[in-house]
Symmetry: C2
Subunit: 267 residues, 2 copies
Amino acid sequence: MLDFVGLGLFDEKDISLKGLEKIHNADKVYVEFYTSILMGTDLEKMEMLYKKKITVLSREDVEQHAEDWLVDAKDSNVVFLTGGDTMVSTTHVDLRLRAADMGIKTTLIHGASIASAICGLSGLQNYRFGKSVTIPHPYVSNRGVRVVSQTPYDTIKNNIEAGLHTAVFLDIDKDKGYMTVNQAMEILLEVEGKLGEGVMVDRLAVGIARAGSPSPVVKADYIEALRDYYLGGPLHIVVIPAELHFVEAEALVKLAGAPEGILENID
Amino acid sequence: MLDFVGLGLFDEKDISLKGLEKIHNADKVYVEFYTSILMGTDLEKMEMLYKKKITVLSREDVEQHAEDWLVDAKDSNVVFLTGGDTMVSTTHVDLRLRAADMGIKTTLIHGASIASAICGLSGLQNYRFGKSVTIPHPYVSNRGVRVVSQTPYDTIKNNIEAGLHTAVFLDIDKDKGYMTVNQAMEILLEVEGKLGEGVMVDRLAVGIARAGSPSPVVKADYIEALRDYYLGGPLHIVVIPAELHFVEAEALVKLAGAPEGILENID
């Protein structure tokens, strides 16, 4: 039996009672931190609270040599832990398929997901979100040209035209680090400067830092202003709202410090 | 202090350790079951496990007379429990705004959400979902005309054209009950019969029953076939996939019994 358990958003206490029960009944417990990371905890705290030894798997362990450790799940209880909800990464789905190929029964124990948490934190309604997108760190090509992805700009534009909010995930890079809301705003304005379609001009954005922690920060402001607003440590994420319903606008003003002017001209 | 705590998907053990800690430190604990329901538990089981008396709030208590019980949160710890993640319903956002108006500090403890769970259960990738939609129960108008909403059909059509999957929530009605996957397929085919645009013809759909329970059922098949497939008890939800990536198609075949023919012509 292989149980996939989502750890939730921030620290070792975001796991569900059901997930903890799976750990207690497990013969072996694994975790991977490379597709997602819990900023509020570490392996030691997890092992202490869960009262169980946990083995950290590298990308290679998960993607190249999974059979080596999956084989134990044929006749004992193996738990595989990941940040957020389980199965968010294609890697996890692939792992589940390989387990199925080996005749191993799998179960999923769900955890809180950032995709849902940003709705609660911002007050923006879940059913009004369109396709999500990730802003990658810009890079310099072999020819010495700075490459900035235009995809986030286009996705946001298409969503706004359809009246839909956009969840904008920010790149996590081993070398370049966790992208901040400030960097993300800078990048969107850089693309605006190139394309000049006006999508990011006087555009409201919501910056969210440390979702799921005891001290999340949620700040709504126009992109130009949010570029210079300090939200504190990682992880950061952004939402670009489309036209707002009244309760959404009220929530952004009262809970996220948005300029009160956004309350005008709302249905 | 008012803590909003998401209970997760199915039963009393889907709450996080952090949520349980909030309950233990609470002076009063409330729950509402009218925007969302946990099929695998009841008030008695929750009170037993959480070792705390829990008061059930009606829609009127939450939407008309919230000040009556919110006032305690000014100088004591009040916890407000809801199924799924917290703040999914506009009602909860509204409640948080009223608490803010009363000078009450609020926090959110997130729980697993169906919007994320369906990705894990189906193997369909989170970032490939477009706008979600709800299929309402058809009804007979005052003039005796059967009214079937065309909105779900249009939303699915638009998403497919944009290459995006659609999460289709199914109506929960006090009188008409929990809509099943079978009823949902019947309704989509009825609208297809009227509009004749072919969106639902030879269209793959994924039916999911009892997400978060120990025995979820996930079945992928063409809409005509899924209409007659028995998935067992509620709650049900549907995903209509757009064009599939290879791992997604493989997951639907191996984990959801989709016809193997869908593996042909995939990139």
